[in-house]
Symmetry: C2
Subunit: 379 residues, 2 copies
């Protein structure tokens, strides 16, 4: 193998490939990146237990003088290419099992692994794609993935469920304490019902972060492949049936309160500074409980009490309120803040149906997005 | 106590006060900030085992309707003031041992501690200051503090030594493996020889970061106080005699190599990606050893060998070189990078006197700054 390529092109592809690269692996070969040069193309491949990524570089800056293949230490290779200043990079294999990286007056030699030991990637057949705009995919991920479960008690809840029923795709995430749901319409396509690991979606969102345009989705029984530009990004799916969440969402809301989103976020952030902290076991996630009350004169109060430090309360004037009864409801400020931040709308509505019933959030500019939060009982 | 003040003024002062606030303390009262309001001034005080900070606010935005004093939970108080959006803040004590913070429609109540339990700050007498420009003080700290010892084997080495001898002040830091030394001239002042804890200097640099102007230094046997604007920042000094480092610095350098500083930093950063890592016990500091060699045609090579990953080398063309003999010298890339980054000069010189003798760095625009590094023996 011997080839020369613009550093910028190689790095751009390595940044995508890095999404599939494990930092550690029970299979040492997977800490490597596979390079496969044909007469015309350079293929880069990475893989971990969840994700496989492959890019096919046929850039005009690529000159292959000798085809070949190898597997190089992934992190080191990426770090070196990232730090190199020169415009061109020359990569070639020496006789003594080294990949030589030459750039300006620098020369780097990396011990290589046997490409025959690298597992064959079992990519989904590229037939019958579902075509989506990358912006839509990014949006759906951002709006739902944060609500997945962060522990493995119910493994299926660590992913986002995507269900197509006659052209209406519903994306659902829940950790049993809150739920995020977004629907989008798609062109005619076979029905599907899959659950994608949250971590894969995080990496997918990073991979397509700088990309705008069409993305093709390919489905198999246990895998999802997205293809765009010169990239194939494949993730395993979670086994099992996703719970039916349709009954969770109340259908009637006697109380509706509209807020300026940023004002509500500010008030909740301030009040939650004083709210007692509860740490989820084995996770550095803190839940702090705050209370929302409808006061006289239709003023809303956000408050908290912390026995060891003190109390906090903020009054807010809603932009609109429809409430027949007074109400005080307690919930995690983190859940509320994460839900609020998923909206692009400047005005959001809280829709409540009782002090111990789930409440939902909607935004006037976020059609088809529902955020649901379960309250906690207050003393 | 009852007072009103502009949030911006209070926050600016709390940011300085936070430099002396411990996150934990064996004395719970010290996790508090002391507020002391006279008829005209609000004094804020914080203190930990090393540092005490006091600010005297007499800003025109301050209105005190009732003098008084209290001690409030420090981190909570700072966080709340930081998050508040309103221009004005009202602080007052309620009858039931609470500090009430009112801002717009928000109300925060913090449990207070007894100000009589707060230790009396024993500040150095404000007599006979040494006057320095804040910029000079920041520069001396930045150029030396990184070279202090990060472990407590020799406690005196965890500080920077400041020694005045007839108007020539020498600042010295060393961890036994490298040394940083800067000299400045000052007006006539009594001789002193003190060693200031590195952590105190880090906090001092942050406290004066946004300040330009004069700083007054006051010395006592075991304390140093700096005073500027409305701030008194006092630190304890380290006990013991600082070692005599004057013999460490070679006086003759048969080899001098001049580099463009940024080119050298880039090359060393790249090569050290592959250098073997040695972790200092109990610290997450990595030392990676690289080699500098004078090659034919006066080219300089920076290189490293890593048995498990590979090799790296970079060639550099020095801007000037005076060398009668070939030479190859090994040393920590981290020490070299930290030393190089302490210079403002675009050109730096490496001055060597042998493969196992300390070498020094100087910069054409950094008068009176010397960085010294001890080499390691190469196989």
């Amino acid at each position: 193998m011997n080839l020369t390529i613009d550093r910028e092109i190689l790095l751009e592809n390595l940044n995508v490939i890095s999404r599939g690269l494990p930092s550690k692996s029970p299979m040492p070969i997977l800490t490597g990146i596979k390079l496969y040069a044909t007469d015309t193309d350079l293929f880069l491949t990475s893989s971990n237990s969840d994700i496989s990524v492959e890019t096919d570089i046929a850039d005009s800056s690529l000159t292959i003088t000798e085809p070949g293949q190898t597997v190089v230490p992934g992190r080191f290779f990426i770090d070196i290419v990232r730090k190199i200043n020169s415009q061109r990079i020359n990569l070639f294999l020496s006789d003594d099992k080294l990949l030589i990286i030459k750039a300006d007056r620098g020369e780097y030699k990396l011990h290589i692994m046997d490409p025959l030991d690298y597992p064959k990637m079992d990519f989904v057949d590229l037939e019958n794609p579902l075509e989506l705009e990358a912006e839509v995919l990014k949006e759906v991920i951002k709006e739902t993935v944060f609500a997945t479960a962060s522990n493995e008690k119910k493994p299926i809840l660590t992913g986002v469920n995507l269900k197509n029923s006659q052209g209406l795709v519903t994306a659902t995430a829940t950790d049993s304490f809150r739920l995020s749901q977004k629907t989008i319409t798609i062109p005619e396509y076979k029905d599907f019902n899959i659950t994608i690991p949250a971590k894969s979606l995080d990496e997918m969102a990073k991979a397509i972060d700088n990309y705008s345009g069409k993305v093709n989705l390919y489905f198999s029984n246990n895998k999802l492949l997205i293809q765009y530009k010169n990239v194939c990004f494949q993730t395993r799916l979670l086994d099992g049936n996703y719970p039916d969440t349709s009954r969770l969402i109340p259908s009637e809301f006697p109380i509706t309160i509209n807020f300026n989103k940023d004002e509500l976020i500010d008030a909740v952030e301030r009040v939650s500074l004083l709210s007692p902290r509860d740490k989820e076991k084995d996770k550095e996630i803190t839940f702090s409980i705050i209370k929302l009350s409808i006061k006289k004169d239709r003023v809303i109060e956000i408050s908290t009490t912390n026995a060891s430090v003190g109390d906090a309360k903020e009054e807010l004037i809603p932009t609109n309120i429809e409430a027949s009864n007074p109400l005080a409801i307690g919930f995690s400020s983190r859940y509320l803040l994460e839900a609020l931040r998923s909206f692009v709308s400047t005005e959001v509505s809280l829709n409540l149906s009782g002090e111990i019933r789930p409440f939902i959030l909607r935004g006037d500019k976020d059609a088809n997005l529902t955020q649901l939060i379960l309250p906690v009982r207050m003393d």
